[in-house]
């Protein structure tokens, strides 16, 4: 069977801030799209298909492409909308990968975005669980009690964090350090939202506790922003730019929802820190990419971590070390920009979270690192291969993409 190599040839971002009130959704996304075209040196006429997504409950617009995609050069082109919650951006990038690798399209524009300030972001997240909440009330559950069960404002992440810490030996000091790693990296990234150069763990430890063990300093902000990425065939990529970033493989894996709601939770996902689906997706992606030893072959990682503990947890679940080893690796300094396996050089989701865009920004950051275009946050070591991850749903969906400076097939 014939296969086609897929490469990233351009990346574009809009500004990432908490409130963009000077533009509407379509206009904000245009900023990323137009920056992306410029980056790749392409025009809309060069694009064969478009793949888009966001998490629509945040904006209250159903399939916003219908009204907005004209602003992104979609007129008359095949357009596919993919939405999978927190993993949306990653799923959109996967869609772009398959669109090209199928041989059906040469050049595909991937777009992911969120304009949270148009809606009420807490309410946006609540709509994940309102159906289950309604069912619980019907069973005679007190709303306040349900809120506590759901983990309050920080949701299921607190259970996950507590459980992860217990299993791995990760301490609250480690969480503080993760925030420092990310927010100081973010300070070097012009497209990040929360930039905190010179942040110290002590400062993080002084932020207000939301619910044990999560403090405000451990949690992502709500961001307005968009990301666009142009992918094309390996052949075209070589003609366009010197150093394309090849997407070697994409894989996702779903488990049962573990929202601890009315429908209960099933088997492997009983403990939300286990995340077996992340391990499975990573294994599938590494296998397809021909990676046998990810710990040594991967040069940079962008795990999806809106909460501090997740950077460490997903580092482990991406098979970059054994379970429970990540806190010590963080302490060793290996995750820093100049380390052996830098993690979240972009600043990660904990610094910038335009929900729908976040998982694509993991892919685009790895691509930029491979292309050597990451600017001040370019990692010290030479980057040949990197892994980009996305996480979402009711802690039950994981997406993984592996990128490289050399193609998979030719």
């Amino acid at each position: 069977m014939a296969h086609t190599d897929v490469a990233v040839v351009g990346v574009g971002y809009s500004k990432h801030v908490s409130k963009r009130r000077d533009v509407n959704i379509a206009e904000m996304v245009w900023e990323a799209v137009s920056a992306c075209y410029e980056d790749a040196g392409l025009k809309p006429k060069d694009v064969d298909a478009i793949c888009t997504g966001n998490m629509p409950a945040f904006e209250g617009v159903n399939i916003p492409e219908l009204w907005g995609a004209g602003h992104w050069g979609a007129y008359g082109k095949p357009l596919m909308r993919i939405t999978t919650g927190g993993t949306t951006g990653g799923s959109v990038a996967h869609g772009g990968y398959y669109a090209v690798s199928s041989g059906l399209f040469d050049t595909v524009l991937c777009i992911a975005f969120e304009k949270q300030s148009d809606g009420n972001s807490t309410m946006g997240l609540n709509t994940v669980a309102l159906a289950d909440a309604a069912a619980m009330f019907q069973q005679g559950v007190d709303p306040g009690f349900l809120a506590a069960f759901g983990g309050g404002a920080v949701g299921i992440a607190v259970y996950q964090a507590a459980s992860y810490m217990k299993r791995s030996g990760c301490t609250t000091e480690h969480l503080d350090k993760v925030s420092v790693l990310c927010r100081t990296n973010a300070a070097l990234n012009p497209y990040s939202h929360l930039k905190q150069p010179g942040l110290t763990p002590e400062e993080v430890a002084k932020t207000t506790l939301m619910q044990y063990p999560i403090r405000f300093g451990h949690v992502c902000p709500a961001t307005d922003g968009a990301c666009a990425m142009l992918v094309t065939t390996g052949e075209k990529a070589k003609k366009l730019i010197d150093k394309p970033a090849y997407i070697l493989s994409c894989a996702s894996c779903s488990e049962e929802a573990s929202l601890m709601g009315i429908a209960g939770s099933g088997t492997t996902n009983m403990d939300p820190c286990v995340q077996e689906s992340c391990k499975i997706a990573a294994k599938w992606a590494y296998d397809l990419a021909g990676i046998e030893d990810p710990r040594h072959e991967i040069d940079v990682a962008e795990p999806y971590s809106p909460f501090a503990h997740q950077l460490l947890m997903f580092y482990e679940r991406l098979l970059l070390c054994d379970d429970g080893e990540a806190p010590a690796i963080l302490d060793s300094g290996s995750m820093n920009l100049e380390g052996d396996l830098p993690v979240c050089p972009s600043g990660g989701v904990i610094s910038t979270n335009a929900i729908g865009a976040s998982a694509m920004e993991r892919v685009s950051e790895v691509a930029l690192q491979i292309m050597g275009k990451a600017g001040d946050r370019q990692v010290k070591k030479e980057v040949h291969k990197g892994v980009a991850h996305g996480w979402g749903g009711a802690v039950n969906l994981n997406v993984v993409a592996v990128l490289s400076d050399t193609p998979r097939r030719s």
């Binding site: 379509a26 602003h71 709509t127 309604a134």
Partner: protein, 153 residues
């Protein structure tokens, strides 16, 4: 393999919460609404192909050019299509009968290349009919400042 337990009628639940939104209109639509406040109909124009957008768009979907040119359009336009509405969508999403039918028109303002959907003040409509915009700069809701159209004499 079992086919589950017979539970009779499947229960339904609901929750009385309506998430709210506030969509910033962006500078192009802002300039449009500011214009109506002064009694002007402002449309954006594509510098590449000359397409004129009313309501204004920031980007021309055909050329991907930023529409930084503006034109002031006359109040007159032509009906492109229309429908006599016997119903409207109620808050619950069902089609409710109207006591009085109303006419919804799709109007291309003279000089514009795109259309506005609005109410027609009048008894009947036809495609090609000339109409005049009814502006209400003092409308409480800025979306109602372009109140509708009426037949042009």
């Amino acid at each position: 393999m079992g086919s589950g337990i017979d539970i009779g009628q499947v229960p339904k639940v609901s929750i009385p919460i309506n998430p709210t939104f506030g969509w910033s209109v962006g500078n192009w639509m802002e300039y449009f609404f500011d214009g109506i406040k002064e009694g002007k109909l402002r449309a954006s124009k594509c510098p590449a192909c000359g397409r004129v957008f009313l309501p204004p768009r920031m980007v021309c979907e055909r050329c991907f050019a930023k529409c930084e040119d503006w034109v002031k359009l006359p109040e007159t336009g032509t009906v492109q299509s229309f429908t006599t509405a016997h119903v409207k969508v109620g808050a619950d999403g069902e089609l409710e009968d109207l006591s009085q039918p109303e006419i919804i028109v799709l109007v291309k303002q003279d000089g514009a290349d795109t259309c506005v959907a609005a109410r027609l003040e009048g008894e009947s409509a036809s495609v090609g009919m000339k109409v005049k915009a009814v502006l209400d700069p003092s409308a409480e809701n800025f979306l109602d400042m372009l109140a509708g159209y009426r037949p042009a004499e």
